[in-house]
Symmetry: C2
Subunit: 336 residues, 2 copies
DNA sequence: AACGTTGCCGATAACGATTGCGTAAATTTA
DNA sequence: TAAATTTACGCAATCGTTATCGGCAACGTT
């Protein structure tokens, strides 16, 4: 990879590198003629400044790091699209990393981003993460961090989340109102903020309608079909099995439907199902899947804007961190 | 972002930076005692080498660039997962960029990757791309490039593709064998290699069974529901409408199903549908969608391995570029 | 005539890490 | 004991870019 540098221009035009540099940046100290010559030659030989040299010199990279649990999940890929639109428009780049729901991988990613001198980090925590020292260290070094979707209370910074409580509340309420009497909830990793919020919404709806809360109906569960299948097995084996299931995530909803179909359970007659997913194909399902949708793209955009504001702010005044909660939407289809 | 550098270590231990550097790299020129002191102190203050400085010096970054049309597409996100597994195991990082099917965006991404000094590029072309000068230039500068899925014939390099011809052939053949008499094909962007290969497979199957090839049954189409809806409208309005549709991509299959359902077409009775998709939820559809699946993850892995081999090869001997074709799998469900 | 101002530009030092070369001290060899 | 060699380290250049500092004309001002 041979590349054109500012030195090549300087040598060719018999100028110093400083003059070339200044000419390229339009400094007033350089005469219009010199500027013209330099700019034209730079254009001609297709000069591109080396961002690596800039990063080294300025200790910043005009790029941000984005850590998500998994790209192969429509919620996160849509959020990333939101992030990129904002970030590009403001002259930055997004470096995307996946934790694959692994704590260890998340720590490695965080360290790598730090050494890459990203100017800030957007992160949605892995399902395994309980200890957030790696992020606290990063923040202590002065790195701006913004959480989206899955956050930790132990770090004081901007957070952009969906109204998980309200989404879960609406889903549970709808099931109650449509006559379901025993509503189970299949939740994701217990350590996640979204899990807690959604369970709280579920409980609150049951409370509002004076329904008993049966903790055996709340199942924490990994994403794999095997795990979900086991959980569904337990629920169905109960002497008083549920007539509805509210599922707390994309992956869980899909595994749940698959498991129920494998067991030839009639949806919604025998068991109604509501998911919490951003699948764009839920309307094609049999039956069409009712779901609580999150404004994934908007969450990404909002988080990116907050992060860039943090990065670019000049004032040394203490920051008032915000938690922005975006509304969820309940989409009712035939699965409930 | 204050960070620890080799200088800090040198100053603290009263050594020169060169000694510290060599000690950290385990050079034989450094005495065991000095090494020990340096390593322990580096560990203690949590020293991490600055990859940016290394990139600048060595003109390489131990990272590769990956350009895909869109992450929010299961085929590509799965391929990326395959790429990352390989790349990480071999000590590299993957920088992921999206062209959003835009030629202009693809060019910008390519240039950015070049200036970032990635050691190689994995790319799947955007649907708009017909001119590949941006890639040719890059290759001329010595940048290793490997195509996966969507390639260009005009660049001589490794290519990893699915057996699109065979997949399309099998899909069409299955439709013929199950008694369908007029089989339409909804194709993606005409300029894409995958489009051509799939159309050829479709034609070959029709030929084999001596069916007439009616070019009005082949529709090139964008991904949006509106466009697909129009195309379906045209097909249905025909005096002799098709009784089967073979759809050439993830997005098209979904839009196609949606459009057919909106028009209350009975699938598969009135029209059978086969997709070409990596949707992990196709079995949940109504009706379960028959589909040709590509080994997305494996394609990513293979492409990544080829690229890393190109990057790390020492010999100056001319390279024999390969085109690796991985088998597709036809999954028959109730939609046909 | 002496000095200050302004316009235009160059030399140099940094950013962090590596590396070829030089060299003093320690050790071995003759 | 002197010479030769080895050991163990420091110096300085390098990668591409910019900021700082300064130089040097050509002016104008007193």
């Amino acid at each position: 990879m041979e590349t054109v540098t500012i030195k090549d221009i300087a040598k060719a035009l018999n100028l110093s590198t400083s003059t070339v540099s200044r000419a390229l940046r339009g400094s007033y100290e350089i005469s219009p003629e010199t500027k013209k010559v330099v700019l034209e030659y730079a254009e001609k030989i297709n000069y591109r400044p080396n961002p690596i040299a800039l990063s080294l010199k300025e200790n910043r990279s005009r790029s941000i790091g984005v850590i998500v649990p998994e790209i192969d999940n429509p919620f996160f890929s849509q959020a990333i699209n939101g992030i990129e639109t904002i970030v590009y428009n403001r002259g930055y780049h997004a470096l995307i990393f996946q934790s694959y729901e692994s704590y260890q991988r998340e720590v490695i990613n965080v360290q790598h981003l730090a050494s890459r001198r990203v100017d800030g980090v957007l992160i949605s925590l892995s399902g395994q993460t309980t200890d957030i020292d790696h992020l606290r260290e990063l923040q202590d070094k002065g790195m701006p961090i913004v959480f989206f979707d899955r956050f930790s209370d132990e770090i004081n910074t901007h957070k952009v989340i969906a109204d998980n409580f309200d989404g879960a509340f609406k889903a549970t309420e709808h099931l109650i109102k449509s006559g379901r009497r025993r509503i189970a909830h299949i939740a994701a990793s217990a350590s996640l903020s979204i899990t807690k919020e959604r369970i709280n919404g579920y409980r609150a709806a049951l409370n509002k309608y004076q329904r008993p809360i049966d903790d055996t109906l709340i199942k924490y569960c990994g994403y794999s079909l095997v795990e979900v299948d086991n959980v569904i097995g337990e629920l169905l084996a109960d002497s008083n099995p549920p007539d509805a299931i509210f599922t707390a995530s994309d992956r869980l909803a899909v595994s749940c439907l698959t498991a129920l179909k494998n067991k030839h359970v009639d949806i919604p007659k025998q068991i109604a199902v509501v998911g919490f997913t951003n699948l764009k194909v839920a309307h094609l399902f049999d039956p069409p899947l009712s779901t609580v949708m999150q404004p994934a793209m908007e969450m990404g955009q909002t988080a990116a804007e907050l992060l860039l504001d943090l990065i670019e702010r000049k004032s040394k005044a203490p920051i008032t961190y915000q938690t922005i909660k975006l509304p969820t939407e309940m989409i009712i289809r035939e699965s409930c």
